[in-house]
C-alpha cells in the first residue's frame, strides 16, 4: 500500500472543503436510503466530524500505533448509533465514489486499489472493536429518570438509574441522548462517584438555543428514559500519579465532575486537603452550594468557597474563581472544569501565575462537549 499516494490524494480532495462530505453523504443516502434515518435532519455538524475523522486517519495512516486506538474508540462509539458490520461496505462504496468524483483523471486503478485496501483495514479494526465491546457492554445503557430538580432558572439536576452495571470513574463523562430529541447526543459529566443503586447525577444547564439541553431542563420528567453511552475521558480522573492536596476550580455546571471527585475522596480516600472554588455569575446560579457546604461541614479536609462575578449584592467573595483560587495555591495539582471560555481563561491565568502545565487537569473540548450548536 502506497501510503504517500493516499495522503497526497486526500489532500487534493480535502481542498474542496464541505463539498466533499456533502457529496459523500448524498451518494451514501441515494444508494442506501434506509441509512438516512440514522442521522439527524441537519447534517452540518456531521460533515465536519466525518472530514476531521478521515483526515486524522489518513494523515496517520503509516503510524498504526497512533491510528488503531482512535479507530477502536470510533468503532465502539458507533454502536450507540445502531451501526452494524453490514453498514461498512456501503460507506466504503460511497467513499470511493466521492474520491473518484473529486480526483477525476488522477483516480487510477492503482490508487483505487490502495484506497480500497486502506478502507477495508479501517472497517475491520472498527468492526472488531465493536464486536469485542458487544461481548461486555450494551451499545448504550437505558437510564430511567428518578428525579428531576429545577435548581434555578435554566439549571436542572437529573438523577437517573441505569439498567445494567455501568462502569465509570469520577471525572468521566458520557454522551447522553433523550427520546424527545432523537439521534442527538451531547456529553455530560457525572456528578457522583459510582453508587450501589446504579444511579448517576447530571447537572444540566440550558444553553441558549441548545436543542438537547433545553429539552432536558424544561421537558424531561420522572419516569422518562435517557440513553447513556459508555463512560469516556481520563483527563479529570484521579490517576495514581496525582498525589497530595488538590485545588479545584469549577465554573457553572463544571461543578459536576468536581463533586464526583470529592465524593470519591470521601468514600475511598486517601483523604487529602481539597479546596473547591465554585464560580458562578450570580448567587442564584450557585445551584448546588448547599449540598457541598454540607459535605464541607462533614469533612474537615474539604473547603468550599463560592465566588460570584456579576452580582453586586452577593455577600461572599466577588470576582473570578481563578483569582480567588490562586490565593490558595501552594503547589497542589489543579483541576478545572466549566464552559470552554472559562476553562481557556482559567488555564491561561494559572500558567501565567506559574502553575506547571503537568499539574493542570482539564478536559479537552470536543465539538460535542458542553456546547451546542
Amino acid at each position: 500500500m502506497d501510503t504517500q499516494a493516499l495522503k497526497d490524494s486526500w489532500h487534493l480532495v480535502a481542498r474542496s472543503g464541505d463539498q466533499v462530505p456533502l457529496y459523500f453523504y448524498s451518494v451514501l443516502f441515494l444508494m442506501n436510503p434506509d441509512v438516512r434515518d440514522m442521522f439527524p435532519v441537519s447534517m452540518a455538524r456531521q460533515r465536519d466530524k466525518l472530514v476531521t475523522a478521515l483526515g486524522q486517519v489518513v494523515s496517520n495512516v503509516d503510524r498504526v500505533e497512533e491510528v488503531v486506538p482512535f479507530l477502536q474508540q470510533l468503532g465502539r462509539d458507533h454502536r450507540k448509533f445502531g451501526v452494524t458490520a453490514t453498514h461498512y461496505p456501503a460507506v466504503g462504496q460511497a467513499l470511493l465514489s466521492t474520491l473518484e468524483h473529486f480526483l477525476g483523471d488522477r483516480w487510477t486503478p492503482q490508487l483505487a486499489h490502495d484506497w480500497t485496501q486502506a478502507y477495508n483495514l479501517v472497517a475491520q479494526v472498527m468492526v472488531d472493536a465493536a464486536n469485542d465491546a458487544s461481548k461486555v457492554s450494551p451499545p448504550w445503557w437505558e437510564a430511567e429518570i428518578v428525579s428531576h430538580e429545577m435548581r434555578t432558572l435554566g439549571i436542572a439536576v437529573i438523577r437517573a438509574r441505569l439498567n445494567y452495571q455501568y462502569p465509570f470513574r469520577p471525572g468521566q463523562s458520557a454522551s447522553i441522548s433523550y427520546a424527545v430529541r432523537p439521534r442527538i447526543w451531547r456529553f455530560y459529566s457525572f456528578a457522583n462517584a459510582p453508587r450501589q443503586d446504579n444511579t448517576i447525577d447530571l447537572h444540566v444547564r440550558m444553553v441558549d438555543g441548545g436543542v438537547l439541553s433545553s429539552a432536558l431542563v424544561m421537558g424531561a420528567r420522572r419516569g422518562e428514559m435517557l440513553r447513556v453511552g459508555a463512560a469516556i475521558g481520563e483527563r479529570l480522573t484521579l490517576s495514581p500519579d496525582v498525589q497530595g492536596d488538590l485545588l479545584m476550580i469549577a465554573g457553572g455546571t463544571g461543578l459536576a465532575p468536581m463533586k464526583a471527585l470529592v465524593e470519591q475522596i470521601a468514600y475511598e480516600g486517601p483523604t487529602r486537603r481539597v479546596d473547591l472554588v465554585i464560580g458562578a455569575r450570580t448567587s442564584r446560579e450557585l445551584y448546588d452550594y448547599e449540598s457541598l457546604a454540607k459535605m464541607a461541614a462533614e469533612h474537615p479536609w474539604l473547603n468550599v468557597v463560592p465566588v460570584v462575578s456579576h452580582d453586586p449584592f452577593f455577600r461572599g467573595a466577588r470576582g473570578y474563581a481563578v483569582d480567588v483560587a490562586l490565593q490558595g495555591w501552594r503547589g497542589q495539582h489543579v483541576f478545572v472544569c466549566g464552559s470552554e471560555e472559562m476553562v481557556q481563561a482559567t488555564v491561561g491565568r494559572l500558567l501565567d501565575a506559574g502553575v506547571p502545565t503537568e499539574q493542570i487537569h482539564f478536559d479537552e473540548f470536543t465539538s460535542d462537549r458542553g456546547r451546542e450548536s
Binding site: 448524498s26 441537519s42 434555578t152 432558572l153 441558549d208 452550594y289 453586586p312 452577593f314
Partner: protein
C-alpha cells in the same frame, strides 16, 4: 372557520388529514372570556383524526399482506428479495439535487437555532436586569427602614430588631417589584398559552421554579 361535520360527508370524499393540517388546525374560541375552544368542533376534529388513523392502519395491513405475497413469490422462484441488486450508477444530477436540498435544510435549521439562541439570550438578560433592579430597590428600602427605625428610636433599639426591620422592608419591596414584573410576564405567558390551547407544565415551572434569591456567605 366553520366546523365540518364529518358524519355529514363520507370519508372518501374529503381530503385525508395530513400531519401539517393537524398541526395547523384552528378552532373557534368560545365566547366565555376567550377560555378554551368550542367543544363540538374539537370533538368533530378528533373524530376525523381517528378516521384517518384507522384508514392508514388498514392500508398498512394491506401493504404488509402484499409484501408477504411478494416474498412468497420470490421464495418460490428461488430468489432473495433482501439482496440488493448490483449498485446502480447514480446520476450526478440526483446527487446534486440531494446535496442542495440538504444544504437548504441545514441553513434553515441553523437559522432557526440561531433565532432561538438570540431570543432566549435576550429573555435571560431581561430577567437578570429585572432581578437586579428589584434587588437594588429592596436594598434601598431596607436602608430607609433602618434609618427610620433609628430616627424613631429612644435609645432602646436592639441590633436584632433593626436587622428584622431591614429584612422585612427588603422582602416587602422585593416582592412588590417582582410581583409587578411577574404579573406582566404571566399575562404575556397566559396570552401565549391561550394560543396553544393547553397549559404546558413548563409554564408552571417557569413561574414557580426559580427560588427567591438566597444570599450565601
Amino acid at each position: 372557520m366553520t366546523a365540518e361535520m364529518p358524519w355529514g360527508s363520507p370519508a372518501a370524499e374529503r381530503q385525508p388529514l395530513t400531519p401539517d393540517r393537524v398541526r395547523k388546525q384552528e378552532f373557534t374560541r368560545t365566547s366565555l372570556g376567550r377560555r378554551g375552544y368550542s367543544e363540538d368542533e374539537v370533538r368533530a376534529f378528533l373524530y376525523r383524526v381517528a378516521e384517518d388513523m384507522a384508514a392508514s392502519d388498514k392500508e398498512k395491513a394491506d401493504l404488509r399482506a402484499y409484501i408477504d405475497r411478494m416474498k412468497q413469490w420470490y421464495k418460490e422462484h428461488g430468489l432473495n428479495p433482501e439482496q440488493s441488486a448490483a449498485p446502480q450508477t447514480l446520476s450526478v444530477d440526483a446527487i446534486n439535487i440531494l446535496s442542495r436540498a440538504q444544504q437548504t435544510a441545514d441553513a434553515q435549521i441553523a437559522e432557526a437555532e440561531d433565532y432561538a439562541r438570540r431570543i432566549v439570550g435576550q429573555a435571560r438578560q431581561q430577567y437578570e436586569e429585572l432581578l437586579l433592579e428589584a434587588q437594588r430597590q429592596a436594598e434601598e428600602a431596607a436602608n430607609q427602614a433602618v434609618g427610620a427605625y433609628r430616627a424613631a428610636g429612644n435609645g432602646l433599639q436592639s441590633a436584632e430588631a433593626e436587622e428584622l426591620e431591614r429584612r422585612i422592608a427588603y422582602l416587602r419591596t422585593f416582592a412588590d417589584v417582582t410581583q409587578v414584573q411577574l404579573r406582566a410576564v404571566l399575562e404575556g405567558l397566559a396570552h401565549e398559552v391561550d394560543k396553544l390551547g393547553h397549559v404546558p407544565d413548563q409554564a408552571k415551572q417557569l413561574a414557580g421554579g426559580s427560588p427567591s434569591p438566597s444570599v450565601y456567605g
